[in-house]
Amino acid sequence: MVRVNLDIAKSLMTARWQQTGIAAVGVTFSITMFIALLGFMNGLNSMLDGLIINRTAHVRLYNDISPTKNQPIAIGTDSTKEHHFIHSLKATSVRKDIYNAPQIMQALRQDKRVTGIAPRLSAQILYNAGSIDITGVLNGIEADAESNLFHFSDYISRGEAKDLNSIPNAVILGKGVAEKLLVEPGDVVQVTTSLGNKLSLKVVAFFQSGIAEYDKVQSFVSIETVQKLLGVSKSYVSDIQVKLTDITLAPAYAKELSAVYQVNAEDIQTANEQFETGSFIRSLISYAVGITLLIVAGFGIYNILNMMIYEKMDTIAILKATGFSGADVRSIFMYIALSIGLVGGLVGLIIGYVLLRIIDTIPFVTAALPTINTYPVDYNPVYFFIGITFSLITTALAGFFPSRKASIVDPVTIIRGK
């Protein structure tokens, strides 16, 4: 029974294939644009997010230098009635490392919510370049952990990240630093700590983050090198970067760690609020454009179906006279609408995909992003799924009223009218 209705729908469409084709092309166009826009916008999104989020810890543990919150003067007196002349008990002899770092790291490694951790120890230093010194920061890292968790190796523009482990006193210089010092991989640079300790480092690679200010200051060495430079023990660590299995857990997890270990813990959401907003707006624009196009296509289908029903009044009347019910007639026209949506939508998905493949090959070279050579594209299957769903929903809505009109056509009026 349903087969007959489908069969009739097919015949009606082939009899009016030009109109049907035009309606389908409308859907195809909007779905193509929808897919291309979403894939491209989200490609950009993940690239821009990648700039920050990829290499930022979900939770960062550190020890902030801050004066005690419970100033002694406030303990014995009532601060509402009296004025305190003594109020600033300054921070002194605070340890800059994380207390009990090895134990914390041990515990974190066993936590199921944690993908991995990477400790850091940073030191303020001066790069010695001839007669002048350039201030900078030497980050002591575990190169493997940084690469696995935070894509560290993606940002190495010359050389290899893993040389940090194999070559003693190796350094990866920020691109900006290298330019100022006029050095190439293989050269040696001198650094001095604030306490006057000097160390010679061998340049093995350059680091380019995409943020020029950052690259003018930062360089990377193994964590042991910094510990040696500062003359501290192997357990001395200033930061522990934690990557979680689920990024959304970060704020709660940061609170938990802060309470349990008495350290400062910062989550990624708090640290990078503005990036979320940018991504959200870009997605919103693509959805808005895609849906607007679909609505326009929907009106096209609505018009064409109305026209078709007006032309096919006789057919509807005969079908009803020979035993097709109003519901059958409605389903015939709904089949037409949905076929237009399905075929138009699927072709749209294919062309959209092809368009994304083309965008994907267009060169996009920027000094800021050493690992990206072409425009970024996101082929997330979810967009294709949303695209076909939207096209079916739109065509179903567009077909609903014309189909209902067809189902209530009074055959007597039509037959009499001949």
Partner: protein, 226 residues
């Protein structure tokens, strides 16, 4: 003697049109049709024959009175139930050969049976070709419906009306648009259906000659049976 159940029974059927003023077009129509009857309804143009036939064929549900088919009351049934009755029990032949131009002759004949869905497609196709043979149209089976002449179309319409072996065939001036030769052909077909297959037929016509050749003629005048 056992009184057989009439195939069709109309009881006190009345119909008004409200356009532009309220007029009674059918007034207390009562009659019965037995199995195998070949009945003609005649009357002057505008006396309400078509209006009555649309009611009898369940296409028009806006009337007073009762209509029974095979002893079952059809008045007040739902659109779906009535569609099934039309599909299974009634074969309709219009004055204007209504065929679907999107389909071949064969498919036009098959459609009501495909809709009924009681037989396989192969059986239906076989039946349809048999029907077309009976009407001398099997040579044109694969032509498109709009490639036929008026008389040919009417014969195909009759083949379609027969496909589900209906209880009754109704025709609204089926020869009204045909020349004498084709009128005779169509009449002969009805006659043969009646005598050979005991097919029940109810045909509206204002062709007196045609009416005279049927078993029984009902005459209408101003919405009444006389």
């Amino acid at each position: 003697m056992i009184k057989t159940e009439p195939i069709l029974k109309a009881n006190g059927i009345e119909k008004y049109f409200n356009d532009p003023v309220r007029v009674k077009v059918l007034d207390n129509i009562c009659f019965e049709i037995q199995k195998g009857d070949f009945v003609a309804i005649t009357g002057k143009s505008g006396c309400g024959k078509s209006t009555l036939l649309y009611i009898l064929s369940t296409l028009d549900t806006d009337y007073d009175g009762q209509l029974w088919l095979e002893g079952k009351l059809t008045s007040g049934k739902t659109d779906k139930e009535l569609a099934l009755i039309r599909n299974q029990k009634i074969g309709f032949v219009f004055q204007f050969h209504y065929l679907l131009n999107e389909f071949t002759v064969l498919k036009n004949v098959m459609l009501p049976a495909l809709k009924l869905g009681q037989k396989s497609k192969e059986e239906i196709e076989h039946d349809a070709i048999q029907n077309l043979k009976l009407l001398g149209m099997d040579q044109k089976a694969l032509k498109n419906a709009n490639q036929l002449s008026g008389g040919e179309k009417q014969r195909v319409a009759i083949a379609r009306a027969l496909i589900n072996q209906p209880l009754i065939i109704m025709g609204d001036e089926p020869t009204g648009n045909l020349d004498n030769k084709n009128t005779d052909i169509v009449y002969d077909i009805f006659k043969e259906l009646s005598t050979t297959f005991q097919q029940t037929l109810l045909i509206v016509t204002h062709d007196q000659e045609f009416a005279a050749k049927t078993h029984r003629t009902l005459v209408m005048e101003d919405g009444r049976m006389v």
